[in-house]
């Protein structure tokens, strides 16, 4: 597992970056761009063929006798939307939600979640050569020098490799609290003076806790806005993911420009209809909460939902699907051109499948992500193809950004 190597590299460099941590509880200079980018990692491998169902492909019904059951309603004459994603249809209609079909990272054949996620978040062609050192979102930050840590936020309990690396980024979960007396806090600085890992983490914890309490009014404002938004009526219920989305929205309305978090639970080997319903609800709630919480900033926002790989074209013996290759990227936000399914459909017929079992990826999903970054932030082609996504050929513009 090269995750460790990667983390080691990040730690060594992270110490120097953390010499200027997050100490001033006052909002600091923002990034030199205004667009918001939210990257959601769907861990477990989402079945893109089930979410955006290619009902126009004559081979689908035979491959998926129970999963393809005619309940999905049409999107564009070829694809239909899994019924559990219907809460997002108003966004589809408003051209604020869409999908890219038949894409994948360059990862092939071993179909391991952990390696697949490493490759997705590292943005590299493979894991050879010990090249896994940081995540592509972090490398994007590195090309814009002088950014403050709160420009980028990794949210939730899990480590987000995609945002780890040399460039300073913040990390927080909405349910953390910090209780420490001022005297003990000063002594803790003494205790941790010689251990950079503990010193920086403690200082950041204290600074973020203070800043959040100072911004309590901002949070209240968010709550008031969300209560008044008709979108929130569609959010079925609270939960960890809704809290994370609320927190992300409150930061993104201030100086944060990039936020990243995960939604787990897509590994639907058995009884996929149940797993898909849960995943769809979490993702729909998240996107609707972001839209409501972002207010007018939604128009400048791109939400990209990426997963490590797709699943087998054929459903298995237990009403589920196994690890595959090609899949879908979902996207949302007022900055993107929704209401369309982008991508070349390879077909599901005999001879069309990858290795005789998986949806054939027709394009590298990193190209779509790169084009979004280019459109939102204006990064140039060489930076995207060399620094952020090594080995990527950007190719033609898929027309994702408005």
């Amino acid at each position: 597992m090269d995750r460790r190597k990667f983390l080691m590299g990040g730690a060594v460099l992270g110490c120097s970056a953390a010499a200027s941590p997050f100490v001033t509880p006052v909002a600091m200079a923002a990034a030199p761009w205004d667009a918001r980018l939210v990257v959601i990692i769907l861990r477990g491998a989402m079945d893109g063929v089930d979410v955006i169902q290619p009902y126009g492909d004559p081979a689908l019904a035979a491959l998926r006798p129970t999963l393809f059951n005619g309940e999905a309603a049409d999107l564009d004459g070829f694809y239909a939307l899994h019924p559990a994603f219907e809460p997002l249809r108003p966004l589809w209609t408003a051209a604020e939600f869409g999908a890219v079909q038949a894409v994948s990272t360059p990862y092939r054949d071993k179909r391991s979640h952990f390696d697949g996620q490493d490759i997705l978040e590292a943005g590299l062609p493979d894991l050879t050569g010990g090249g896994l050192r940081d995540g592509w979102l972090n490398r994007m930050l590195q090309v814009v020098p002088g950014l403050e840590p709160e420009v980028a936020f990794a949210i939730g309990r899990e480590q987000m490799l995609v945002l780890s690396g040399d460039a300073p980024a913040s990390r927080w979960s909405p349910d953390a609290r910090l209780m420490i007396s001022p005297n003990a806090r000063a002594l803790l600085n003494v205790v941790h003076h010689d251990d950079p890992l503990f010193r920086d983490a403690s200082e950041d914890a204290i600074a973020i806790a203070e800043q959040i309490s100072l911004e309590a009014d901002l949070a209240e404002e968010t709550e008031a806005m969300m209560a008044g938004s008709p979108m929130m009526e569609a959010v079925s219920r609270g939960g960890e993911h809704v809290k994370i989305a609320e927190f992300a929205a409150s930061r993104l309305r201030a100086d944060t420009r990039i936020a990243s978090f995960s939604i787990n639970g897509w590994d639907t080997h058995a009884r996929q209809s149940n797993g898909m319903r849960r995943g769809a609800r979490a993702l729909s709630d998240t996107i609707l909460t972001l839209k409501a919480g972002l207010g007018s900033a939604w128009d400048k926002t791109a939400v990209l939902c990426l997963t490590e790989f797709g699943r087998t074209a054929r459903e298995n013996g237990s009403g589920g699907t196994d690890h595959g290759t090609g899949g879908a990227m979902l996207f949302a936000g007022g900055a993107l051109r929704g209401g369309q399914v982008i991508g070349d459909w390879p077909g599901l017929g005999d001879g069309d499948l990858y290795a005789g079992r998986d949806l054939l990826p027709t394009r590298d999903v990193r190209a779509h992500v790169a084009w979004v970054m280019r459109g939102l932030i204006g990064l140039d082609q060489a930076v995207l193809e060399q620094a952020i996504f090594p080995g990527l050929e950007l190719g033609p513009n898929p027309g994702l950004v408005r």
């Binding site: 899990e158 209780m179 010689d194 914890a205 080997h269």
Partner: protein, 459 residues
């Protein structure tokens, strides 16, 4: 670097205690580990086979309720079913108390650490809410008896356990050409086979290919589980014919659990398995960048000894890097809490009788904030080893808050910080921690600063 009792207790055990002396030598540690599991006998946790409520108890209660629907007996049946569910929840809290008590009061801390290491190696998550209290019984039955034994025995026990079978969907799998599949529409599920090669044995860099995953999945067919029988073999689901896994053929005659176990034992003795296990042990106990020669020496001993684990431990503990004064690992949240409880000298009775609210507020909620929800790692690969994953701003907020707030709820009277700094850190605590323990303005801050210090958090 020579053996050091303080390092032995902290790096390879559950930490220092005001009442229990640390080990005096490597031989002392290994003799205890080879001897009886005393603390498990004193603080018992039921095995999966013995546990109440079992999945069968719950299934029976559900069936009884269904049968009683619309009759006078419905209310009583409903109450009974609720009670079974409630009993499971109560038992989960008792498991947490038992684990904490074992950790805080054992004389054999290395065994406690190994049990947690191997339970993480063979992570099995409950697939239903009603099964949440069954993880500890799974560990008690399939893992703990083998931590000083043979790895192949542990592997066979794990693969035969309903918890692993359900977690990785093995009960859904059947050979495509088996009698059971012929009439229906169900087939092979590769999940267990893949994780078995990728996580449990050879490791993701190991010398296996997709065809090995597929063949192993076919070999595993027949392994199944249900509420009534637990883990059991269903020959009608087994794929006919021999399966070739890593170049060796298994089975071919009448389908039998013996073919599956022979395959597991073969995979257990693969050189890549030896290396993977050795490396994981060193990464867990000593260093994120393991000494290559140490890993090779441990793997060689494992293979020489036919998969017996004790030899591997002996090589690890005999290596000079094991006793380096540089503490390169960070305690995971449970170990941080348990070693704090141990250093504080919280009595057995006090832990075992702690109320639900105390367990929630002192263990379950703080562990979640620190990033380690009790027995619920995200995936089958268990908890991460990297220190950066744990010592984040949020993780640190959880550790600091626990250190400052919780000890006073566990003890009527906190220890004097000026003494506690030695109890918790040994005879030579870092100057800065010694200073802070003396300079704190309250006893609880003083104790809290010791516990929150990197010196206590590292091992």
């Amino acid at each position: 670097m020579p053996f050091d009792p303080t390092i032995a207790a902290i790096r390879f055990g559950m930490g220092l205690s005001p009442t229990i002396a640390p080990p005096v030598s490597v031989a002392d540690m290994l003799v205890r580990l080879a001897g009886p599991d005393t603390i498990a006998a004193e603080i018992p946790i039921p095995t999966y086979t013995d546990v109440y409520p079992s999945p069968l108890d719950y299934r029976d209660a559900t069936r009884a309720l269904r049968a009683a629907q619309g009759t006078d007996a419905e209310e009583a049946a409903d109450t009974h079913r609720q009670q079974v569910r409630q009993d499971g929840h109560q038992l989960l809290l008792t498991h947490i108390r038992s684990d904490l008590t074992r950790a805080a009061h054992t004389q054999d801390g290395f065994r406690e650490r190994l049990a947690r290491f191997w339970a993480d190696h063979f992570t099995a998550r409950p697939t239903k809410g009603i099964d949440r209290h069954l993880v500890s019984p799974y560990i008690e039955e399939a893992i703990r008896p083998h931590v000083a034994g043979n790895f192949a025995d542990m592997l066979v026990a794990v693969v035969g356990s309903p918890m692993m079978i359900w977690f990785l969907d093995q009960h859904q799998s059947m050979g495509p050409n088996s009698p059971a599949a012929r009439g229906g529409d169900r087939g092979l599920n590769e999940n267990l086979a893949r994780e078995l090669l990728e996580l449990h044995t050879l490791g993701v860099g190991g010398a296996y290919r997709q065809t090995d995953v597929r063949e192993l999945a076919e070999l595993l067919t027949g392994i199944s589980a249900n509420a009534q029988r637990g883990g059991y073999f269903r020959p009608e689901r087994a794929e006919p014919g021999a399966e070739r896994v890593l170049g060796v053929d298994y089975g071919g005659g009448e389908p039998s659990i013996e073919d599956v176990n022979a395959g597991l034992r073969g995979i257990a003795m693969h050189p890549d398995t030896a290396r993977h296990l050795a490396r994981k042990l060193v990464v867990h106990f000593i260093s994120p960048t393991p000494d290559v020669d140490l890993v090779e020496a441990m793997a060689a001993r494992y293979l020489e000894n036919g998969g017996v684990l004790m030899g591997m431990y002996e090589v690890m503990l005999g290596h000079e890097g094991a006793w380096s004064p540089d503490a390169l690992k960070v305690k995971q949240p449970f170990d941080f809490i348990a070693s704090s409880v141990r250093a504080l000298g919280v009595p057995r009775g006090k832990i075992m009788t702690a109320g639900q609210r105390v367990i929630r507020r002192s263990v379950q909620i703080p562990m979640t904030v620190m990033g380690q929800t009790w027995q619920r790692p995200v995936g089958p690969d268990g908890w991460p080893e990297e220190e950066e994953n744990w010592i984040t701003p949020q993780g640190m907020a959880g550790r600091i808050t626990w250190s400052m707030q919780v000890p006073q709820n566990l003890l009527d009277r906190l220890p004097d910080p000026r003494e506690f700094v030695f109890t918790a850190l040994g005879p030579t605590p870092p100057e800065a921690v010694l200073f802070a323990a003396n300079a704190a303005e309250t006893v609880s801050d003083g104790v809290g600063l010791v516990l929150a210090s990197a010196a206590f958090q590292r091992r």
